[in-house]
C-alpha cells in the first residue's frame, strides 16, 4: 500500500545536517543534526522553547534554515515548498488543531488525499470517468484504512467544530494519514488529551508504525515522557536550540545532562503510567 521506494528498514530516510535557524539574533536551532531511520519512531524532546516545533517546520518546509541541509531519501529538499515535500510522502499534524471547523470529518480527511487525485476540471464537474473512479477508490481507502483504524465511524458525518478536542486530534491524524505518508511528523499529538484518549492515540501511533499495510516512519514531538519512553526507538534531546543527545530511550533516561535539562526527578515524568 505505502510505497517503500528504494529504501529498506533501517536505511536513513531523513537527515538534518548541521541545521541553523535564526529569528533575528535569536538562535532557534544551532547546529542540529538528526538521522532518522526508516521504520522507526524517533522522538524529539526538550523543554518549552527548545526549538522542537522549529525543527518540525524546517523538515516540512514551513521554515527554511539559514544554514545546513535537510535531506530526504538522499535528496536535498531545502528549496522545496511544503506541498512539494508532501508529494514526496512527508506529512504532519500540528500542535494546535488546524482543521476546517465548519466541514465534516470525512471532508477534512478527504482533503489530505488531494495529491492523489489527478482528474481534470472537465470530468470533475460532472463526476464521470476518471473522477468517479478516483473518488470511489479514495472513499474506499479512507473507509477501510483510516476510519476503521482510528475508530471514528460514529463521527464521520459530524461537523468538526462540534467534536471534543480529543476527537479533533484524531481527525487531524486521519488527514495526515490520508496522504499515505512515508514519514509522518507528529507535533504533540497527546497534548490536552485525557488518559483514555492518550492510550488510544499511543495505540494508533504504534499501529501505523508497526502494521504491515502502513509501516510509517514517525518523528514525534511530545511532552508525555511515559509514552515517549514506551513507544520510541530513539529519542533526540534538544535544549534551547542545542542538541544534547540522541539515543535509545534507556540511554536517554540515564544521561545526567538530560535529566538535569529536562526530565527532572523521575516521579515527575512517570505520573501518567
Amino acid at each position: 500500500m505505502v510505497q517503500g521506494g528504494a529504501l529498506r528498514e533501517g536505511d536513513t530516510i531523513l537527515e538534518l545536517k548541521d541545521v541553523h535557524m535564526y529569528f533575528g539574533k535569536v538562535a532557534a536551532l544551532s547546529g542540529v543534526s538528526l538521522d532518522v531511520k526508516k521504520g522507526e519512531i524517533h522522538s524529539i524532546i526538550g523543554p518549552n522553547g527548545a526549538g522542537k516545533t522549529v525543527m518540525m517546520n524546517c523538515i516540512n518546509g514551513l521554515y527554511r534554515p539559514q544554514k545546513g541541509d535537510v535531506v530526504y531519501k538522499g535528496r536535498r529538499i531545502n528549496d522545496l515548498k511544503p506541498y512539494q515535500r508532501a508529494e514526496l510522502g512527508l506529512s504532519r499534524t500540528f500542535q494546535k488543531v488546524e482543521l476546517f471547523g465548519g466541514m465534516s470529518v470525512l471532508d477534512n480527511i478527504r482533503l489530505g488525499r488531494h495529491i492523489h487525485l489527478h482528474s481534470g476540471i472537465g470530468c470533475g464537474s460532472i463526476y464521470i470517468g476518471k473522477t468517479k473512479k478516483e473518488e470511489l477508490e479514495c472513499r474506499k481507502f479512507l473507509e477501510e484504512e483510516i476510519i476503521d483504524l482510528l475508530e471514528i465511524e460514529d463521527i464521520r458525518d459530524k461537523t468538526v467544530h462540534m467534536l471534543p478536542y480529543g476527537l479533533q486530534k484524531r481527525v487531524e491524524l486521519g488527514r495526515a494519514l490520508a496522504l499515505q505518508p512515508e514519514l509522518l511528523l507528529l507535533d504533540e499529538p497527546l497534548a490536552g488529551l485525557n488518559l483514555e484518549e492518550v492510550e488510544d492515540m499511543a495505540r494508533f501511533i504504534l499501529d501505523i508504525n508497526e502494521e504491515k499495510r502502513w509501516r510509517v516512519t514517525c518523528i514525534l514531538v511530545e511532552h508525555d515522557m511515559g509514552v515517549v519512553m514506551d513507544i520510541s526507538n530513539r529519542v533526540f534531546v534538544l535544549n534551547f536550540g542545542n542538541p544534547i543527545m540522541d539515543g535509545p530511550p534507556s540511554e536517554v533516561q540515564k544521561n545526567p545532562e538530560v535529566v538535569k535539562a529536562y526530565l527532572g526527578e523521575e516521579d515527575s515524568y512517570s505520573t501518567r503510567r
Binding site: K140, E143, E144, I147, D148, E153, D154, R156, R203, D207
Partner: protein, 640 residues
C-alpha cells in the same frame, strides 16, 4: 404454525432448523447484513451456512465434543452468531458474556461454566481471555476475528476464525458428511445455551435452555404477532441478554427475517434509522433514552417547531387515551391526528427508526406509564412483554388493540400463569428451562412441579391481564402498612429528561426518600444555558440550582400520590449508578441490597435530622483503575 410452515417437534433442534432454512433460501435471500466501512455488506443463507459449517468443523478438529461449552464475547456481529451456531451444530453449548464484563465476572463465568473455547472479537477480548486462562484450567482455545492489534500475539492456543475455518475445510475433505451427521444427531431436549442471569442479589446463575425451550418460545410468540421473512430486524443489544437471543435465534431462524448488525455500538441508532426495522425489542432504558432525546430536542428547537410539536402531541395523547380506554376515535379527532402525523409524527418516527415498525416490545424491567403514553401518542404500537431467562425469554405479551399501560398483557399460547397465595407469579410452558448449572439448590427453589417461580409479585386484573407489582423482595411496606412498589415511583421519576436513575427508599420507615442520579448530558446542557460553571458530574450534581431542578421533578412525580407514598427528602448522588461498580446489573436493574450497603451513610442521614452527608468512597473505571472520592452531599427536604 401457518406463517413458517415449521412444526416444532421434540426431535427438532436449532441446527436442524438452521440447515433446513439455509437449504430453503440458499443464495437467493439475505440472511444478515453488517455495516462495515460505511457500507451494508450482505450475507446470504448460503454464506451463513458455509461460515457456520467450516467454523464448526474447525472447532471439532481442535477437539470440541458434544456438551462442551463455547463462550462468546464481543459486539453484535455475524461472526459472533456464526460461532454460537457452530457450537450448537457440534452439539456444544453456547455461553454469551456481556461485552463490558469486568475481568472477575468473565473469570467467574468461564470457570463456572467449564468453557473450553473462548470466542472473542478483537485484541481487547483476547487480552481478557489471556489474563484468566491460567485461572480457568478447562479453557483450551481462544478465538478472535478482528486482526487489529493482534500482530504481536504468538501464543499457539490463539487462533483466528479465518484460520480455523481453513482447518474446518481440511476436515471436511477428510471426512465429508461429518457436519450433517453431527447436526442430525441432535435432539430437542438437549441443552443448547447456558445463560448467566444478571443476579440482582447474588452471583450470576447459569440457566440451562434446550432447543425445545427456545423454539417453542419463538413459535408461540409469533403465533400472537406474526412476522414475515421479508422483515428486517436490527441486532444491536447484547447477545448475552435473552431478549436478543429470542429475536435473533428463536424467532429469526424460524421465520427467516434479515438480521442487521450495526457498524459500531456508537452508530447503532443511525443504523437503525437506515434499516427501518419491522420488529424491535429493547429494554425500557432504550425507550427512555429516545424519550429523553426527543424532549431535549424539543427544548432546543425554535418556537414554531415547539408549537407544532405541542399541537401534535396534544392530538396524539388524546387519541392514545381514547384507544387505551377502548373507545372509538371521533372523525374530527381522526382528521386532526392525520394532520399531526403529517406535520410531526412521520418525521419523528423516521428519526427514531420507527417508520416501519409493526411490533415494538419493551421488557426486561419496568417501564413507566408516561413513557408508554408517549410512544402511543406518537403512533408507535409499543407493547409490554414479560418473561425471564428461565422461560427462554417471554411468556406474557400485550395483544394489538389490547394495550393497557399498567399491565404486561396476557399469556402466549401453551403458557399458564397463576398467582400463588403469597402473591408470587408462577408460569408453566414448554419453554420453562431445564435448571441451573451446578446449582441444584436454586433449581429446587425455582422449579416446583414444572412451575417456574418468578420471585415477582403481581396479580391478574379483571381483563385477565397480568400486573407485575415488583420483585417480591423489593416490595416495601408503607407507614400505614400498605404494600408499595419503589419501582413504580422510580419509573415515574425517570420520565423527566433530567433524571437518569433514581433509587426510592422507605421500607417500614416513617417516610419515603430518594437518591437521585442526574443525567449528565441533559443537566449539563441546561446548566450551560443558565451560565452555571461546573467541571464534573460531582460538582454539577451538588449545585443549588440543580437541586431546585431535581426537586421540581420530584414534586411533579409526587403529585396524585397519597401522602404516605410521597418522597419527603432526597439527595443528589455524586455519580450515576453503574454496572461496573456493581450498582446495576448488566441489564441496568438496580441492585438494591448492594446499594443499600454501599451507601448506608446516605441512607442513615436521610432518616436523621441532617442536611449534609459526608462521603468517602472508591469508584472503579472500566479498565479496573480505582479512584477515591471524598465529598459532601446536601440533603434536601421536599414540600409535601
Amino acid at each position: 404454525m401457518q406463517q413458517t410452515g415449521i412444526e416444532i417437534t421434540k426431535d427438532l433442534t436449532i441446527p436442524k432448523l438452521f440447515v433446513a432454512q439455509c437449504k430453503k433460501y440458499g443464495k437467493n435471500k439475505v440472511a444478515m447484513r453488517e455495516k462495515e466501512f460505511g457500507i451494508w455488506i450482505p450475507f446470504t443463507w448460503q454464506d451463513y451456512y458455509d461460515n457456520v459449517k467450516y467454523l464448526c468443523l474447525g472447532m471439532v478438529s481442535l477437539g470440541l465434543k458434544k456438551g462442551d461449552k463455547v463462550a462468546m464475547i464481543g459486539d453484535n456481529r455475524p461472526e459472533g452468531l456464526w460461532a454460537e451456531m457452530a457450537a450448537m451444530c457440534a452439539g456444544g453449548i453456547g455461553v454469551w458474556l456481556f461485552q463490558d464484563c469486568m475481568m472477575d465476572e468473565v473469570k467467574y463465568i468461564i470457570d463456572h461454566s467449564d468453557t473450553t473455547f473462548f470466542v472473542g472479537e478483537t485484541q481487547e477480548e483476547a487480552d481478557k481471555a489471556l489474563a484468566i486462562k491460567d485461572a480457568c484450567p478447562r479453557l483450551k482455545w481462544i478465538l478472535w476475528d478482528d486482526p487489529k492489534g493482534m500482530r504481536n500475539y504468538k501464543e499457539d492456543f490463539l487462533i483466528s476464525i479465518k484460520e480455523l475455518q481453513e482447518k474446518g475445510k481440511e476436515l471436511d475433505k477428510k471426512d465429508p458428511g461429518l457436519f450433517e451427521k453431527m447436526v442430525s444427531d441432535g435432539h430437542g431436549d438437549e441443552t443448547c445455551l447456558l445463560f448467566y442471569t444478571s443476579g440482582t442479589t447474588s452471583l450470576p446463575k447459569g440457566a440451562l435452555l434446550s432447543h425445545w425451550n427456545m423454539l417453542t418460545m419463538g413459535h408461540n410468540l409469533m403465533s400472537v404477532d406474526p412476522c414475515y421473512d421479508t422483515d428486517d430486524f436490527v441486532s444491536y443489544l447484547p447477545f448475552a441478554w435473552i431478549g436478543e437471543q429470542m429475536m435473533s435465534i428463536s424467532c429469526g431462524l424460524q421465520i427467516g427475517y434479515t438480521l442487521n448488525f450495526p457498524e459500531e455500538p456508537g452508530t447503532a441508532r443511525e443504523n437503525i434509522r437506515e434499516i427501518g426495522p419491522h420488529v424491535m425489542f429493547a429494554p425500557p432504558r432504550l425507550y427512555e433514552g429516545m424519550t429523553r432525546q426527543v424532549q431535549v430536542k424539543y427544548i432546543d428547537s425554535t418556537w414554531i417547531k415547539k408549537k407544532v410539536y405541542e399541537f401534535a402531541t396534544w392530538v396524539g395523547y388524546r387519541v392514545a387515551n381514547l384507544k387505551f380506554e377502548g373507545k372509538s376515535v371521533p372523525a374530527g379527532m381522526t382528521i386532526l391526528n392525520w394532520i399531526a402525523y403529517l406535520l410531526m409524527q412521520k418525521k419523528l418516527k423516521d428519526h427514531l427508526g420507527m417508520s416501519h415498525l409493526r411490533h415494538c416490545y419493551t421488557g426486561g424491567a419496568a417501564m413507566g406509564p408516561d413513557h408508554f403514553r408517549f410512544f402511543h401518542a406518537l403512533g408507535v404500537n409499543l407493547k409490554q412483554i414479560y418473561g425471564q431467562t428461565e422461560i427462554a425469554g417471554i411468556s406474557i405479551v400485550h395483544r394489538d388493540g389490547g394495550v393497557k399501560f399498567d399491565t404486561v398483557g396476557t399469556p402466549i399460547p401453551e403458557t399458564e400463569v397463576k398467582i400463588t397465595d403469597a402473591g408470587e407469579i408462577i408460569t408453566k410452558s414448554p419453554s420453562v428451562f431445564l435448571g441451573y448449572y451446578k446449582n441444584d439448590e436454586a433449581t429446587v427453589k425455582t422449579l416446583v412441579d414444572n412451575w417456574l417461580y418468578s420471585g415477582d409479585r403481581g396479580f391478574i386484573d379483571e381483563d385477565g391481564h397480568l400486573v407485575v407489582f415488583d420483585r417480591s423482595k423489593d416490595v416495601m411496606t408503607l407507614r400505614d402498612g400498605r404494600p408499595f412498589s419503589p419501582q413504580y415511583l422510580e419509573t415515574r421519576l425517570k420520565f423527566s429528561p433530567y433524571i437518569q436513575e433514581a433509587w426510592v427508599i422507605g421500607d417500614k420507615r416513617d417516610y419515603i426518600t430518594a437518591v437521585m442520579c442526574i443525567d449528565y448530558a441533559v443537566v449539563g446542557k441546561w446548566a450551560d444555558e443558565k451560565k452555571l460553571n461546573y467541571t464534573s458530574y460531582q460538582e454539577l450534581s451538588q449545585k443549588v440550582e440543580v437541586y431546585d431542578l431535581v426537586q421540581k421533578q420530584i414534586e411533579e412525580a409526587n403529585r396524585d400520590l397519597p401522602e404516605v407514598a410521597k418522597i419527603h427528602k432526597f439527595v443528589n448522588l455524586y455519580k450515576a449508578f453503574d454496572a461496573d461498580d456493581e450498582e446495576l446489573t448488566r441489564t441496568s436493574k438496580l441492585r438494591r441490597a448492594f446499594v443499600e450497603n454501599r451507601y448506608k451513610d446516605i441512607l442513615a442521614a436521610l432518616y436523621l435530622d441532617a442536611d449534609m452527608v459526608h462521603m468517602d468512597t472508591t469508584i472503579t473505571y472500566e479498565d479496573g483503575r480505582e479512584q477515591r472520592i471524598k465529598t459532601d452531599l446536601a440533603i434536601r427536604k421536599v414540600k409535601v
